[in-house]
Amino acid sequence: MEQSAEELNKIEKKDLFTSGHRACGGCGQALAARLVADASGENTIACVATGCLEVFSSPYPDPSWRIPFLHSLFENAAAVASGVEAAYKALNKGPVNIIAQGGDGSTADIGFQCISGMFERGHNVLYVCYDNEAYMNTGVQRSSFTPLGARTSTTPMGNKTRKKNMPLLAADHGIPYVATATVDDFRDLQRKVKTALSIEGPKYIHILAPCPLGWGHHGELSVQICRLAKDTGIFPIYEIIHGKVSNVRKIPVKVPVEEYLKLQGRFKHLFKKGQPTPEVAEIQEIANQNIERFNL
């Protein structure tokens, strides 16, 4: 399925994920889910793991999905998607876009072995991870994607470990396409989804999706926070095509991490009377490492 550059860069708005869902105001994941659904089009099956997305989008009798939707357990969205793909193959039907979707908990912690298996077996499935950096659905518990310093209900003094680098782990499986994206640049996000769907084999897209409730910011700041995550170097934007890092988004003007941290309640304890504590310097160091590593 070769697509022209014009088609890839076109913005899609088909409302395949419609209004009426129960997400909080300014939810980054709801926005990301719609952008992904619209980019992938009607010929798509969504296999969604348990989590916020599944809870707020699929209550009976008025689901928000206008494409076939399959809810699975917390851990096995990738395995279910693999099964759907195998069934289509066995019935000799298709082609159809199969997208497994999950939050950061189901991707990096609970469902990791299913995803790893799916990548390893080489199913033609796109896995989309909505990264909101904690278990938001169950009450903001720490996950292995929670960044250094962030306060969650299980790390009230701030998280002591670094975030797991899932995109690189996925890429090390030797899959053909890995990309990172944020909700603020919808053109880029939709282009990556369309690019991924045009490639045969397992694909992985990692989307930073701010959670106003868990991150402690006002809903209107969701897009701005994503923008700052990119411009500080905390969340690098790149694609890994057949093991090669490419299309790295260069930072136009580098921003210190304080700007990113100050907007969010989960990092509030890092500033005592407006003055940053030593942990801020550590977070800046992470951002600097990213900038150096990906040549942002």
């Binding site: 708005k13 009426g20 909080c24 105001g25 926005l31 008025d62 689901p63 928000s64 969701s222």
Partner: protein, 550 residues
């Protein structure tokens, strides 16, 4: 037996979505606001309006109609206005302001090239109105009244209409044919014009107030004031006003080799640059420094480019005469002390610093006053006309505007006052009370989300080389390219009005922004909007704002 589906099946066509709009405490609204350019424009031009038409439709004709709705003299203003709009432009805080003045000139010229005509709003009212003076204030007032259907007659003291634009502004800044075309276009609305009639001298003002329902005085400030020094009555000493009037009437002036212009205002700059083009060595003598000069900055810059000598801190004490003709001026150096009543530094002479400057002609451009000959209205400090808040003078039914009221000001301010006076006259005749509704708020750059704009270089007008332009009185800025101005119009931020960027439409996590089937614009679906404010935050031009839920 009928085969039943396994489990529950939802028919998506019959789904009634859950209305999340009930969660909302804040709601988004579209609020159209005044952009700072229009706010800063004394004539109140719809700048955003015509720039958006250029940028979106690339339609010069429509842009001209948008612009000419308020301002009947766009080609003139595009040449002579010191463009306070560009100083107000929000883009200045981003890279540099939009070249509004150049765009206005190009749109105005397009209107003249294609003979576009003003449209009348209503026709056939029987009330008659007399407009005294055909300067920018008078023309603007007559234009707006004629559009509203009144019968308007303009009385002009000079041989040709245009007032100070015709007789004061030299043709290298404003060519006569441009002004004439724009005035003819205004007169085509059915306005009568009678030249060579000076109200108060040839025809008494009382007669006008009796014969007409209302009178507008736009007489300007066309009496030149000199300074009181010995020798000021010599025959080769002129006031700036008289000098410019004679030159612009086409009279040949014998000015000799050395000319001294006294003063630092726009008239002084015009006199200096005109005499330079007549072949003289010109020096401008001013008591203070360039900082305190009241002239338009661009005018001073252009005068300096044209090799005009500026003598600052210099005050003439005596004009040295020989057989009734000036041969030079005796001047003294000044130093600046604490500010005086006008806020400018007070010059004090330094003793023993007298110097002699030779001169074949001396032009004193040191002030202008209203010619009150036969016009008996109340004044402020014996200088400018008194008007109330509706621009009515002390005489019932006599309105006034322009330089005679505001002091020495710009063409655009006079146009603005003419516009206001036209509304006031209509209200006066109809017996209405002037509407005093609050204006929408102004958008400033702190309200904008400039992330979505790209940095782009400003359009720069290029002047003819100094060598060429000093040889004649032709315009020093040649016409601009239509395409360049379209590109420039795309730099407009469209502050306070939607320009269909689609951010709200794409960013709404609830898909609660829809495309309106009737207008094609964006509208909020308040059944589903949760009031998160993402659209308002990411709206580049501050058109979307949050208010309390109703």
């Amino acid at each position: 037996m009928e085969k039943l589906p396994l489990g529950l099946v939802i028919d998506l066509n019959k789904v009634v979505p859950y209305k999340t709009g009930s969660w909302r405490t804040l709601m988004p609204v579209n609020i159209m606001q005044i952009p700072p350019c229009t706010h800063a424009c004394p004539a109140g031009n719809d700048i955003r309006g015509f720039l958006r038409v250029l940028a979106e439709k690339e339609d010069y004709e429509q842009a001209w109609h948008v612009l000419a709705r308020n301002n009947p003299l766009p080609a003139t203003c595009g040449r002579v206005c010191p463009h306070p709009c560009e100083a107000g432009c929000n883009r200045r805080d981003f890279d540099s302001s939009v070249a509004i003045n150049c765009s206005e000139r190009r749109v105005g010229d397009y209107g003249l090239e294609h003979n576009l005509e003003h449209k009348k709003l209503v026709s056939g009212r029987k009330e008659k109105i007399a407009v005294v003076g055909s300067g920018p204030a008078g023309l603007s007032c007559a234009f707006h009244l004629a559009k509203r259907g009144f019968k308007v007659k303009i009385f002009e003291a000079n041989g040709e209409p245009g007032g100070w634009m015709r007789y004061g502004i030299p043709p290298y800044r404003l060519p006569n044919y441009i002004l004439k075309q724009e005035i003819d276009n205004i007169l085509r609305l059915g306005i009568d014009l009678e030249c060579n009639v000076k109200v108060g001298v040839n025809i008494p003002l009382d007669q006008l107030t009796r014969e007409y329902n209302a009178v507008f005085l736009g007489v300007g400030a066309q009496k030149g004031l000199g300074i009181d020094v010995p020798g000021k009555d010599a025959e080769n000493v002129y006031t700036g006003v008289d000098f410019l009037k004679q030159v612009n009437s086409g009279k040949w002036m014998e000015i000799g080799k050395d000319v001294v212009v006294i003063g630092g205002g726009n008239t002084a700059m015009d006199c200096a640059r005109v005499t330079k083009r007549l072949g003289a060595n010109v020096s401008v003598v001013y008591r203070r420094t360039r900082m305190e000069m009241p002239a338009i900055t661009a005018e001073i810059d252009e005068a300096m480019e044209e090799r005009i000598m500026f003598r600052y801190h210099t005050n003439p004490v005596k004009l040295v005469t020989d057989e009734g003709r000036v041969v030079g001026i005796l001047s003294v150096q000044m130093e600046l002390k604490e500010p005086d009543a006008s806020g400018r530094a007070r010059p004090v002479p330094i003793s023993g610093s007298e110097a002699f400057i030779p001169a074949d002609t001396v032009i004193m451009a040191t002030g202008q006053a209203v010619d009150y000959d036969g016009i008996d209205v109340q004044t402020v400090d014996n200088q400018w006309m008194y008007t109330n808040e509706h621009l009515m003078t002390s005489m019932e039914g006599v309105f006034a505007g322009g330089d005679a009221v505001a002091g020495l000001e710009t063409v655009s301010l006079a146009i603005g006052q003419g516009t206001r006076a036209a509304s006031a006259i209509e209200d006066y005749i109809e017996g209405h009370v002037e509407s005093s509704l609050a204006q929408p708020p102004v958008v400033y750059s702190r309200d904008l989300n400039t992330y979505y704009y790209n940095k782009q270089k400003k359009f720069n007008k290029e002047a003819v080389s100094i060598h060429t332009r000093l040889k004649n009185f032709r315009e020093i800025y040649p016409s601009f390219d239509l395409k360049d101005i379209i590109e420039e119009s795309k730099r407009c931020f469209s502050c306070g009005l939607c320009f269909h960027c689609g951010n709200c439409y794409m960013y709404c996590p609830d898909s609660a922004v829809k495309i309106s089937p009737s207008t094609g614009g964006y509208e909020f679906d308040l059944d589903f909007c949760k009031g998160c404010g993402l659209c308002a935050k990411e709206c580049p031009c501050h058109y979307i704002q949050l208010t309390l839920e109703k």
